[in-house]
């Protein structure tokens, strides 16, 4: 593998890792703070991608679609938390699994009713539809670089929010010990709604950003959901820092595995997860 090729793969793996992080950050917080196993998290990713498809189709502007789509998904998350998830924080994990599995069916059907079962594509915005020439034969698309930048900015923003702000302190307190945080005067009910809505929005945002790169298709959430759980578990449940590390690790292993060991590439991530759990049963960054 020469240097140009290597850099391309490295960029791809970081980009994939950051995308996974956007999804896993919400999942790990929802898991860590509310104790909810949310199998429907992948559906929010799918809904995001379909929102990007529908809104871009209507207005012809991806940026506008992303802004409106994010607002819509925040509203959806807030509503779902209030109507449904709120009542499941103290139920057993199995009940949550059953509930969110049922929700996957519902979301998929709603998707099918609204947008059909076909595979769609979303065009790359014109300003970003060019590529950087690396060698005579290799080039790198600008949209991927743009996505890399956006994801990095979001990851950085999330890190600042969680580690530097008062709200972030409350979130960390909630993840560490929910009851104690409440006793200290944190409005835990509002915090839960906020974290849930944020998680949904991040997942949907990941879907919207990936839409121009991959196609938009039914059940696109389920594969990514499994990967997210892998990331959450490797990183340690409830740890955003862990999720970031694990997401980048998974991105590296998966991308380079596909290049170097194509026959066993898809297995490698799970081998990594099994090894981490056997060595550190609670993940890398369990508080």
């Amino acid at each position: 593998m020469d240097l140009a090729n290597f850099s391309i793969q490295l960029l791809n793996s970081v980009q994939y890792g950051l995308l996974l992080f956007l999804l896993a950050a919400g999942l790990t917080l929802i898991f860590g703070i509310m104790g909810v196993v949310n199998l429907a998290h992948g559906s929010f990713y799918m809904l995001g991608a379909y929102l990007a498809y529908a809104l871009t189709g209507a207005w012809g502007n991806l940026a506008l679609a992303v802004v409106v789509g994010t607002a819509l998904s925040i509203a959806l998350g807030w509503l779902l938390e209030k109507l449904l998830f709120r009542h499941f924080y103290h139920r057993s994990h199995l009940d949550q699994v059953l509930l969110t599995f049922g929700l996957i069916y519902i979301f998929e059907e709603v998707r099918s009713m609204l947008w059909g079962d076909d595979v769609h594509s979303v065009g790359i915005p014109e300003v970003l539809d060019w590529s950087i020439k690396l060698t005579d034969t290799l080039s790198y698309p600008a949209y991927r670089l743009f996505m890399l930048a956006i994801c990095s900015a979001l990851a950085l923003g999330l890190w600042l929010l969680i580690s530097k702000t008062k709200l972030g302190m409350k979130i960390r307190a909630g993840a560490f010990n929910s009851d104690m945080a409440q006793a200290m005067g944190v409005n835990i009910v509002r915090l839960h709604a906020l974290v849930f809505a944020m998680g949904v929005a991040l997942a949907a945002l990941a879907g919207m950003l990936i839409a121009p790169l991959s196609s938009v298709y039914p059940y696109m959430g389920s594969q990514v959901l499994i990967m997210c759980f892998v990331v959450v578990v490797i990183g340690g449940i409830g740890s955003v820092r862990g999720a970031l590390t694990a997401a980048l690790l998974v991105g590296l292993v998966d991308t380079f595995g596909k290049v170097l060991l194509p026959q066993f590439a898809s297995m490698l991530v799970y081998v990594l997860m099994a090894l981490v759990l056997l060595y550190k049963p609670e993940g890398l960054f369990k508080q």
């Binding site: 009542h87 509930l99 069916y105 759980f229 026959q263």
Partner: protein
């Protein structure tokens, strides 16, 4: 991880009656139903075996495996590999071998996974199942993503599974055998210990039981029984592919067990039939004006599942019991 759920270990009369009636219906069914429905019920019975095998882990031992389909699919593959291209495989050799292969792989994987607890157990079992899934998915030598056809169904012991009726009654016999075996196991000293592990593993250990060996044995037996179901699945459909080991198949099994009610084997049985039955009913719903109800079966199925969690946290069997308590 979760609070111990109430179990109907001793089945109330109403459930016993229901099961007996169900058995009579199953025995008589092929004479009344069309060929299509006979095959559908065969499929339900196979899934019931699969669900019961998972209940041994999930409901009785308290180990929620999200990778149980791996052992299900593996046995199907063993059958596919051992089937000659132009003749049926011998049941007498392939069935035990397939079940043993699944049990053996479960033993090896179990050796690693039963050390973990709660949500981590769920995730590691999933990870190992995904490894097997991708091993078969990415390697052409193992059939690849297309899977393998089983041209002629297995035969032996004076039976030819190519005959739909023979397959039906053979599957029914297997299902009854597995049910009987697991109910006996549930009330054996071994089953009592597994129950103890679910309720409080530390206490069970303090009483002198080596919980690791018990859990590993349960994991292995459950894997073998899932293999039996997978073998029958391969024999029925004449086709195996990696999806049989996939995440959705594992999740499907968990759903069936929770839907019926965990920890008493009968619940898993009822859950499997209930799940499949509801799915078929929803898919067959008529058109209402221009609105095709059947086409949107996922919406009804999803709503039903959400409804069950909201109003019947102990599954369908729990619903039966709470009504009994009201009386």
């Amino acid at each position: 991880m979760s609070a111990p759920q109430a179990h109907l270990e001793t089945l109330p009369r109403s459930v016993q009656l229901l099961l007996a009636l169900g058995l009579l219906a199953l025995l008589a069914f092929p004479f009344a139903g069309q060929d299509f429905y006979t095959q559908m019920v065969t499929r339900m019975m196979i899934l019931a075996i699969f669900a019961m095998s998972l209940d041994l882990l999930q409901g009785i031992t308290g180990l929620v495996s999200l990778g149980h389909a791996a052992y299900f699919g593996l046995a199907g593959y063993v059958l596919a590999f051992m089937s000659p291209a132009d003749a049926g495989a011998n049941i007498l050799t392939t069935l035990p071998l397939a079940v043993l292969a699944s049990a053996l792989v479960a033993l090896v994987i179990g050796f690693f996974v039963v050390r973990t607890q709660g949500i981590y157990f769920i995730m590691v079992t999933m990870a190992f199942a995904q490894m097997l899934y991708y091993l078969f998915f990415d390697n052409k030598g193992l059939g690849g993503s297309d899977g393998i056809y089983i041209n002629v169904r297995p035969a032996g012991l004076g039976m030819d599974l190519e005959n739909k009726l023979v397959l039906y009654y053979f599957t029914l016999a297997c299902m009854l055998l597995v049910y009987w075996f697991l109910r006996r196991l549930l009330w054996s000293p071994f089953g009592r210990t597994l129950n103890g592990i679910r309720l409080n593993e530390h206490r069970t250990q303090a009483l002198g039981y080596a919980s690791f060996s018990y859990k590993l044995t349960a994991f292995t037996v459950a894997g073998g029984l899932a293999g039996l179901a997978g073998y029958l699945w391969g024999a029925q459909t004449g086709y195996v592919n990696p999806e049989l080991m996939g995440f959705h198949m594992s999740a499907h099994a968990i759903m069936m067990v929770i839907l019926g009610g965990m920890g008493n084997v009968a619940g898993a049985l009822i859950g499997a039939f209930g799940f499949e039955l509801f799915m078929h009913v929803f898919k067959d719903l008529p058109k209402l004006g221009s609105f095709d109800l059947g086409k949107h079966w996922q919406l009804w199925m999803g709503s039903l599942i959400v409804l069950v969690v909201l109003i019947a946290p102990q599954g369908l069997m729990g619903l039966l019991r709470s009504r009994k308590q009201d009386d």
